[in-house]
């Protein structure tokens, strides 16, 4: 067990690449920040997995149904692992976290507060949103100072990379498909471009404790800009139009510059006041209640063993 006499000694430990373990004498401010971050991640995996689940019966063709089955299992499994790590930190129990989430008292990623209207929306989620989530998770994995979280992230990042390949494959089908398919994705892009860009969050506060304690390794704006530089030319290459009238290419800097970002939609989702927040949370809560008998049965059979 490692102990630190004060926060400055702890900062030094983190700055020299130290890894914090659950058995250490963890400073409370660090515990609170890391817990809140992992809980948010776990909630997002769970809500994301439930979204994927909705599309299993609607995915076109057996192979894509198989893909969505696997993605659902992945996300729910990730949530399970993350809730284990979070619950162990002693701030909230696993049940408390899940019940608060389903009462609409917790936060989860902005992108799961919108409705996926057509199959093309689901493709936009797989192609654009999974890529944004992957970029932000990879940046957390890069330096992550909390041992159990970093170990879980290793596998999550590997699996999200695999999801991105599915997203690319599904996008190609629409991009290279009929004019109707192409138009479907363009329509979805108009709904999903900004939420994907906003997923990275507003510019980081220089005093952000998550940067200080190496939970995040990159500032939000750095990740957001890298994402824009990659996806603007890719989408344009497939003949799609980015729904940003102010988007321009700075020839001198050789960079794409997006228009000013309206952060109000992101803030609304963080209050669970997004366009589809209420329906999603209610659905999740209903499924949680409807499946209580499964958990009870499993608990009973575990007791009997």
């Amino acid at each position: 067990m490692t102990t630190w006499s004060d926060l400055s000694e702890f900062d030094e430990f983190i700055n020299s690449g130290g890894m914090v373990e659950p058995t250490d004498d963890i400073p409370e401010p660090y515990r609170d920040e890391v817990f809140r971050f992992i809980e948010f991640h776990a909630n997002s995996e769970l809500m994301g997995g439930l979204t994927e689940r909705d599309w299993i019966p609607k995915a076109p063709g057996l192979r894509l149904k198989q893909v969505f089955l696997a993605k659902t299992q992945d996300e729910i499994g990730h949530a399970h692992l993350l809730y284990m790590v979070a619950a162990d930190m002693g701030v909230k129990t696993r049940d408390e976290m899940i019940e608060q989430l389903f009462r609409g008292e917790s936060r989860f990623h902005n992108v799961f507060h919108y409705q996926a209207v057509t199959w093309a929306d689901q493709v936009a989620i797989a192609y654009l949103v999974d890529a944004a989530a992957f970029a932000s998770q990879r940046a957390v994995f890069a330096e992550c100072s909390y041992g159990p979280y970093k170990r879980v992230l290793k596998r999550i990042v590997a699996e999200e990379g695999f999801h991105m390949r599915h997203g690319e494959e599904m996008l190609l089908r629409l991009a290279e498909g009929t004019p109707t398919q192409h138009a479907m994705f363009q329509d979805a892009l108009s709904r999903w471009w900004w939420p994907a860009v906003q997923l990275f969050g507003p510019d980081s506060d220089p005093a952000d404790p998550l940067l200080r304690w190496k939970i995040k390794s990159e500032r939000n704006e750095t990740l957001r800009d890298a994402y824009v530089q990659k996806y603007v030319p890719l989408l344009q290459g497939y003949g799609f139009e980015i729904p940003d009238p102010e988007l321009r290419y700075d020839g001198a800097a050789k960079r794409w510059v997006v228009g000013s970002i309206d952060w109000e939609p992101l803030k609304a989702t963080m209050r669970n006041g997004g366009p589809d927040s209420r329906r999603r949370i209610e659905n999740a809560a209903r499924h949680w209640n409807d499946t209580a008998w499964v958990r009870n049965a499993l608990d009973a059979s575990a007791m009997a063993l």
Partner: protein, 186 residues
């Protein structure tokens, strides 16, 4: 079933059924100029999509490599065994194998998924087992059914959930170092 997701694989096909239409099969490379070492070298560059850095050879997915003679010249057929049927990575692995082998050897390359033999964790190389434990915190169950923690070495890791994030893994918990552990299922 034609795989067209990888540009290099566009010209070749992969079959899923094991009893497929191989036009001719020779029992070894003797009859042909095909260099099997090159094929195996190419296969060892193909990673499992869910374990970047771990090759399908190390994971024991490659069962056979056969050279074939067809009207279009010599080719190679790679027989693979899936860790789990229904694994969502099968198409991707087949496409990656075809791209790697065709690029390295210039041969017409086919992939067959075999239903026999059945994949077990015993097919993994010791290196793969070691790297899964050290890098991915994923362990294999010992013969007596117990689990050793790959993080701290604790000997009594507890099973936690039969279902993990993938079909091939379950979830356990180390009460000593307090890390979730994943267990490769057979």
């Amino acid at each position: 079933m034609t795989i067209s997701t990888t540009p290099a694989a566009a010209a070749v096909t992969t079959t899923v059924a094991s009893a497929s239409t191989v036009t001719a099969t020779t029992d070894s490379a003797r009859a042909t100029p095909v260099n099997l070492d090159m094929v195996w070298a190419a296969l060892s560059t193909v990673d499992d999509p869910e374990y970047p850095g771990l090759s399908i050879v190390d994971l024991g997915l490659v069962e056979q490599v056969e050279t074939t003679q067809g009207p279009d010249g010599s080719g190679v057929t790679i027989g693979l065994v899936p860790t789990f049927s229904g694994c969502p990575a099968l198409h991707m692995i087949a496409a990656d194998v075809i791209a790697a082998v065709a690029n390295a050897t210039g041969l017409a390359t086919r992939v067959e998924w075999l239903s026999d033999p059945v994949w077990t964790t015993a097919r993994m190389s010791p290196l793969a087992e070691q790297r899964l434990a050290n890098e991915f915190t994923v362990v294999l169950r010992r013969k007596d059914g117990t689990l050793r923690c790959p993080v701290c070495g604790h000997d009594a890791v507890q099973d936690q959930s039969m279902a993990g994030p993938t079909r091939c893994r379950s979830i356990a918990w180390c009460p000593d170092c307090r890390n979730p552990i994943e267990v490769f299922r057979t």
